[in-house]
Structure formats: structure tokens, C-alpha cells
Amino acid sequence: MNDMNHADIERRMPVESVLRHLAQVRGEDQIVISNQSSARLWPRLSSHRLDFNYNPSTMSGAVPFAVGLAIARTDREVMVLSGDGSLLMSLGCLVTAVASGAANLSVVLLDNGVYEVTGGQKTPASESAVDYAGFAAAAGFPNVSHFWELGDFKCRTREVLAARGPRFLWLEVGTTPRDVFQDKHAPITERLSNFQAALRRDERA
């Protein structure tokens, strides 16, 4: 547990910098599932064939979706970007992820303390010392890390993503720039179809 005040949003890592770094270090053959706010921001930073920006989604659906992919594609690493509001809605999915045996899975928690898509209302965890790393460790994740300082995160990202999976990365981040919510995207069925086609091509290659 760090000594940071969770409400001290000024000290949190800029989410755009965090995601830009993840886009830079992600493996060429790695699947990335973004969700909720990250599904709006990630397309500005990455247009990889194995990206799926899962929006609209059901809240808390991204981690199970990624677990399914990871089980089916053990030859590929799968990274899922989940918000804290979504994860809080179904903490049991951490247990499911570990029980699935998906060692090729990285769950990246983008914790900003708010329900940002709906305008930034606080989550029940926003003013308490909720220990997401503790949740993940207790669920059985063999590798759990926690970052709240950008330099440290950038230094250690490759190391933690290479550790034995499934991995859980708790990242304390600031809020997403509001203008990304105005971005237009292709319909989800079209994006999903492209993603499926990329998975099939990737499997044949």
C-alpha cells in the first residue's frame, strides 16, 4: 500500500502518458482490449491490428472478455485496460481470471477514483484506502504491481509485463481529457469484425 492520498488527483500519473507508454512497449503480437474511457483514448495512441476498443460494453465486461481471448489464444499475450469503476462492479472477475489459468493475461487497472464516462462522480473507493493490489494478490495473481509515479512506471513496465502471468498492474492515473469523448469511431460491429479478421490472419501466419 502506498502512502498517497487517493483523492490527491494532482499527483496521479497523466493517463495519456501512461497509455502512450503502454502503446510503445506492447508486443507486436500482443492483443490489447481497452474499455470505457480508455477505449476513447487508446485509438488516439494506437491503431494496431490486434487492438479492440470495447465500447459500448457492459461495465465490468472487459476483463472476462480478455480472459476468454487469453484462454483461446494461448500463443498470444493479452492486455486488458480496465477502469476502477468497472473493476469494482465485479471484483470476482479477478478470481475467475486466475482460476482460468490464463498465464498470458495482463490486467491493467486505470484507477482514477471516478466514474468518468458519466462526468466524474466518485466511486465508493475514491476516498478510502482501497488496496487493489491486495485484492489481486488475494485472488491469486502471481505478479502484482502498483505505480503512481510515471518515471518509475516507465522504468519497470517491460519487467512487470514479462513476469509470470496472469499479472495485475494497478496504475493510479488522472482523469481522461474530456475532448476524447467527442471523438467519432466506427460502429462496434465493424471494429469487432476487423479484430476477428486480424485474429484469424494472425493465427494462420
Binding site: 481471448l69 484462454i71 475467475t96 482460476a99 485474429l199
Partner: protein, 160 residues
């Protein structure tokens, strides 16, 4: 109604790859047989709302999963199902145990709302309520798979 070996044989012959489930007392006894199948992989979820997107991930990656849960779980997981079946338009198939369906005098509200909920979600469902109905599971699965659409088998539970 189905024994464990019967459900395994039915699902294996249908080409199902994964069973994503949160069992009830009728489905639960199938666990040892599902788990020992060499062709099926049993995936346990903590909450029914996880089952639909997890099955979606499997399906998107080319597998042939089904979801298995009780009607109460179907009700609980409605938004997850809505997203997967209607936003993503993925043809996830489900076997749903219909709690107390066969108990004529049951006042169980889960029984009362089952049919209305299935119809409200515009699901293509068939009912299995007797031994003679058992072939419907494979038939409906095959029909839905060929049509590329979601489907539900409602498995009547209770005495009978």
C-alpha cells in the same frame, strides 16, 4: 433430466469447445463429467455477468463456447447478455436451468418471470421439460449455429 455423461456426449457431438458456467443444483451434478471431458473445457465464473463476455472472448477467437446458468443468473446478467448478443451481435448459445418450472404449485417469482424475460430479450429459445425433449438441445444448438444467431435451451427443473 440429462445425466452428466449424456450432457457431455451431447455437447461434444455438437462441437462445443467450452462450457462457461455458474451451476445450480440441477446442473451442478454434471461437473465431474464436464471436467473429465477431453473435448470440453469447463470455465467457472464468480458471477453470471462474467459468463457472457468471457464466452464472447472465446467466440471471437474462434472457439465454440456455451453459457450455462440458472434463470436467476440470466436475470442477474441481463446487461452483459444484452451487450454481447445485441451490441456485439455475437451468437452465444446458452443452457438455462429453469428453477421450479416443473413444480405446478410453485410460487417462485423466478419461475413466474422466466418466459416473460426470455421474450422481452427477444431470445430464440426452446424448452426441454421431458425425456422426449432431450434431442432439442442438439437440434437447437445446430440450428442456431448454422444461422449464426444466439439461442437458449431452457431446461425445466424441479420434480418431474
Amino acid at each position: 433430466m440429462f445425466t452428466g455423461p449424456e450432457i457431455v456426449e451431447t455437447l461434444e457431438q455438437a462441437g462445443v469447445s467450452h462450457v462457461v458456467w455458474l451451476p445450480d443444483s440441477t446442473l451442478g451434478p454434471w461437473e465431474p463429467d464436464l471436467e473429465s471431458s477431453s473435448k470440453l473445457q469447463l470455465i467457472r465464473v464468480c458471477r453470471e455477468g462474467e459468463a457472457w463476455p468471457l464466452a464472447a472472448g472465446l467466440l471471437v477467437a474462434g472457439q465454440a463456447p456455451i453459457v450455462m446458468m440458472q434463470t436467476t443468473g440470466l436475470f442477474e446478467s441481463g446487461d452483459a447478455m444484452r451487450n454481447v448478443l445485441f451490441d456485439l451481435r455475437l451468437p452465444v448459445f446458452a443452457v438455462i436451468g429453469a428453477r421450479n418450472w416443473l413444480i405446478a404449485e410453485s410460487g417462485d417469482s423466478a419461475k413466474r418471470f422466466t418466459q416473460a424475460i426470455l421474450q422481452a430479450w427477444e431470445l430464440d429459445w426452446v424448452l426441454i421439460e421431458s425425456e422426449a425433449d432431450k434431442p432439442k438441445l442438439a437440434e437447437h444448438y445446430r440450428a442456431c449455429t448454422q444461422a449464426g444467431q444466439a439461442g437458449v435451451v431452457l431446461l425445466a427443473e424441479g420434480s418431474g
